[in-house]
């Protein structure tokens, strides 16, 4: 008769074993995915277009951010309409000298162009964009019709 004796916290080590590590990782990924779906109101399908963007808002403005390392501010083209924004440009990677022998080459260069539809109307005249340390930050003030407006509730 075979008797298995397990220590008091066998579950902890059992469920942390390499076999379960894959399941744990998948669980974390699923949690993260469901997180992002629950909060996004007008979430587009993952566009798969460079650059990846994050779109935020407060009462007055939309904020669009993208990571564009190695691209100077004056190399980014941004144009807006009353409800969309287009971000385009080119990432160039310098060609190094003749004697350079590469060990790794993971960075990519190329052109990019992406159009995003905004959830509401914006005031195109007041849009501001900054690129600092490779992070693009675009602030788009909402058009007055888009801003939340307080309505007083009358009693009679």
């Amino acid at each position: 008769m075979l008797l298995f004796r397990r220590g008091p916290d066998w579950q902890r080590s059992y469920f942390r074993s390499p076999f379960f590590e894959e399941f744990n990782r998948m669980q974390r990924e699923l949690d993260r995915l469901s997180d992002s779906f629950s909060r996004g109101v007008l979430r587009e399908e993952f566009a798969g277009v460079f650059p990846l963007v994050n779109v935020m808002e407060d009462g007055e403005r939309y904020f669009i951010r993208a990571e564009l390392p190695g691209i100077k501010a004056d190399e980014i083209d941004i144009s807006v309409t009353s409800n969309s924004i287009s971000i385009s440009g080119e990432r160039k990677i310098a060609i190094e000298g003749e004697g350079a022998k590469y060990h790794r080459r993971e960075r990519e260069s190329g052109k990019f162009s992406r159009v995003l539809t905004l959830p509401g109307q914006i005031n195109t005249a007041k849009v501001e964009a900054k690129s600092i340390d490779g992070i693009l930050n675009v602030v788009l003030p909402k058009a007055d019709i888009g801003k939340p407006k307080q309505i007083t509730v009358k009693a009679n």
């Binding site: 992002s36 909060r39 996004g40 109101v41 007008l42 979430r43 587009e44 993952f46 566009a47 798969g48 277009v49 460079f50 650059p51 990846l52 963007v53 994050n54 779109v55 935020m56 808002e57 407060d58 009462g59 939309y62 904020f63 951010r65 990571e67 564009l68 390392p69 190695g70 691209i71 100077k72 080119e90 990432r91 990677i93 190094e96 000298g97 004697g99 350079a100 022998k101 590469y102 060990h103 790794r104 080459r105 993971e106 960075r107 990519e108 260069s109 190329g110 052109k111 990019f112 162009s113 959830p119 690129s131 340390d133 490779g134 992070i135 930050n137």
Partner: protein, 136 residues
């Protein structure tokens, strides 16, 4: 130039560090994309680390292990509500074992537009010396 059209830049998900050491503060850790090449005199590492300022970057070289550690501040302010998020923000961390012996005193680092350019001059003795083969 053989091609007249520049190809379109493909989107890549940010690579999370596979086995991060536990940090005292919670947060994501990403591995930056790098280009590494060497010339006769030096090794050069170019790393994409957007959002890292030179003050928040730590470069450490000891016992032939080079560590790059760049802190990133979340750009969102308190009042902001998320509409959609395609990428996450976190620090950048990567380690390399250097096969070359480096002259530590002459290391140069420059951060520009979120790209680190790290110049690691090789120690004089490590430069390749041509050995002529005599025919007998």
């Amino acid at each position: 130039m053989t091609d007249t059209e520049t190809k379109a830049l493909q989107v890549k998900e940010k690579a999370e560090l596979a086995h991060p050491m536990e940090q005292t503060r919670p947060g994501l850790v990403f591995t930056p994309d790098v280009d590494i090449f060497e010339t006769e005199k030096e090794m050069i590492i170019l790393a994409d680390m957007p959002g890292v300022k030179s003050d928040n970057l730590t470069i450490d070289l000891r016992e032939a292990v080079l560590t790059l550690d760049g802190e990133v501040q979340a750009p969102e302010s308190k009042g902001e509500v998320e509409i959609f998020r395609e990428y996450r923000t976190g620090k950048y961390y990567r380690q390399f074992y250097l096969s070359e012996v480096i002259d530590q005193a002459k290391i140069e680092a420059e951060m520009k537009d979120g790209v680190l350019r790290l110049k690691l001059p090789k120690v004089e003795a490590a430069k390749p010396r041509k050995i002529s083969v005599k025919a007998s």
